[in-house]
Symmetry: C2
Subunit: 336 residues, 2 copies
């Protein structure tokens, strides 16, 4: 038999309201009664129903963080930033993983419509091309803040890095290091951050009188074997690239393995730069030049904005906060 | 106003039971009525309450995976194994992160008592020294399977690797490579896997007539700066180790950075071996010798056992499945 407030009330011959007040440590209940309620609750291992209590309080003091994947360090760091602010403000954080799967993303957003969380921080799955499930959340008045992988079509506040400028900067860095044929590796055409980085790349090529060659563009899949094969084919082609710009770190790592197998030397044969928060970037042979995003601060900023939305106070906040990434030059792009 | 079954029933002048049946596409409701219900549900953006439906059906077809952290690749791979089996069996997977924080772990287990999931796969937080919250889950008859970081004191099925044997093997490998003073780095004394690896280490020392020196044992914290300082102090002491065995990969990476700073050469000055599923292990300078756990298979095995528990069929299963890890020799432990 379920141990709920009703059962406690029956066993103690008290009203449900009195038991409920006693459990909330209300001053309206006399200490003797309170003690009886708490003793029985402990004896029967009573667990408050978190959903019922949330419905009553209209606040779960919990926020949901929906992220695609955690293979890279970016999201671990962003979560740390989110949790540091959340803890300070008295909020709990629940993390949900979509694994870049839009069906799972829809499923999670549906679950969260049930009042489980007060607000949501979200980095969209790479597959997320339709947005109905996000519109539904908005209709339910659950505040959302997007971070890093944002949904451009929607109105909620966004926290991103300067993806266009970073894409431009990374490409120019390869040009300055002597590259003439620069490949671009990304994982999806559906992400605005990928499109912005790509635009920065093509604009930097144009500025430097280099033409964009479609055979140097690889759009990776979730299948690592396929990605490996595509990169290997490109690097062993008749006219291979002398520079590789990876929009995600997993493709940079794959490129390192391909170079190892085909004995292509980094940086003398091919130079590599990657968006990355990899903890081992400086330890690789050779060390990897990175565009490093301020992941911790992105998380902090996103949670700070969400907190303001939840408080419904009138602190002004920017609709789109853009933080700067840092180019960290290492051996993988050394000029000859 | 909340759009629930009651409201739909009122607006359509139907009974709640009829609306409920129509939404479940029951044959008992005539097609015309069904159509009216579905049209109004669509118009008002009706969302079924997932908790209420689960309570009725007594099955959420969802399992919860509770893991401490995702800084390393082990858990990403284990989740892939879990999801592959879950998908095949028609189950959804929700991943919850504890961040090695026992308070968060208790919070998550409490939430899951509300019937959100049919079963739980769990790798305990390093802080988990008390087990009341796990006993509560058992009382609620929610099946649990532990994997990797198991709770030895509890009865539920466990899937682990051969931590003692691997600890022994890693230490013997360092001895065979010429090490005489071998340090052991771990993150917590509360984890059974840490204790087993440590026992393997001390037994291998003893077998090789090497004595255990307490100054060569480092128990890391969540504070990376502290860990860095502790490892640096050990390596710059008057009598430093000539071999380092890291029980977790983050401490091996920190050791690499310390060696870089103090210009201690790996493997000529100090050799390093680590438990690790790091994707970049073979790309490091020098490449890192690892004890690699079959993370994907651990996840697969754990989900398979949980599925059997959920089906309550009488397929026999082992209470404790032990899979073997693999020693992958690379340059960080090359003999001189």
């Amino acid at each position: 038999m379920e141990v709920n407030i009703k059962r406690l009330a029956e066993e103690l011959n008290l009203s449900i309201a009195t038991v409920s007040r006693a459990l909330r440590d209300s001053h309206e209940v006399n200490p003797e009664t309170k003690k009886r309620v708490l003793q029985l609750a402990a004896k029967l291992n009573y667990q408050p129903n978190p959903f019922a209590s949330s419905l009553r309080a209209q606040k779960s003091k919990t926020i949901g963080v929906i992220i695609p994947e955690v293979d890279n360090n970016f999201f671990s760091l962003a979560i740390k930033g989110i949790e540091d602010v959340a803890q300070e403000k008295g909020y709990h954080v629940l993390v949900y993983l979509t694994h870049e799967n839009v069906i799972k993303e829809v499923e999670i957003t549906r679950l969260l419509q049930g009042g489980r969380v007060d607000g949501i921080l979200m980095s969209v799955s790479s597959e997320t091309a339709h947005i109905e499930h996000l519109l539904e959340l908005q209709k339910k008045n659950i505040p959302i803040v997007f971070f890093d992988r944002v949904c451009e079509a929607l109105d909620p506040p966004k926290v991103t890095t300067d993806d266009y400028e970073s894409g431009f900067k990374a490409t120019e860095h390869l040009v300055e290091s002597g590259c003439k044929r620069i490949a671009f590796l990304q994982i999806s055409n559906n992400l605005s951050i990928g499109r912005k980085r790509f635009k920065g790349y093509t604009d930097a090529l144009e500025k430097n009188q280099l033409s964009f060659d479609e055979s140097l563009l690889i759009v990776g899949t979730k299948n690592e074997v396929e990605n490996y094969a595509a990169i290997k084919q490109m690097l062993t082609s008749a006219n291979p690239p002398d520079g590789v710009f990876a929009s995600v770190e997993s493709l940079a790592i794959t490129t390192y393995y391909v170079c190892k197998e085909i004995e292509r030397k980094i940086p003398s044969h091919v130079k590599i730069i990657s968006f990355s928060n990899l903890t081992t970037a400086a330890l690789l042979a050779p060390s990897l030049t990175t565009i490093t995003q301020p992941a911790y601060n992105i998380g902090k900023e996103a949670m700070t904005i969400l907190f303001r939305l939840l408080k419904k106070n009138n602190y002004p906040y920017k609709k789109h906060v853009v933080l700067s990434s840092t180019l960290i030059k290492r051996d993988s792009t050394s000029p000859l």
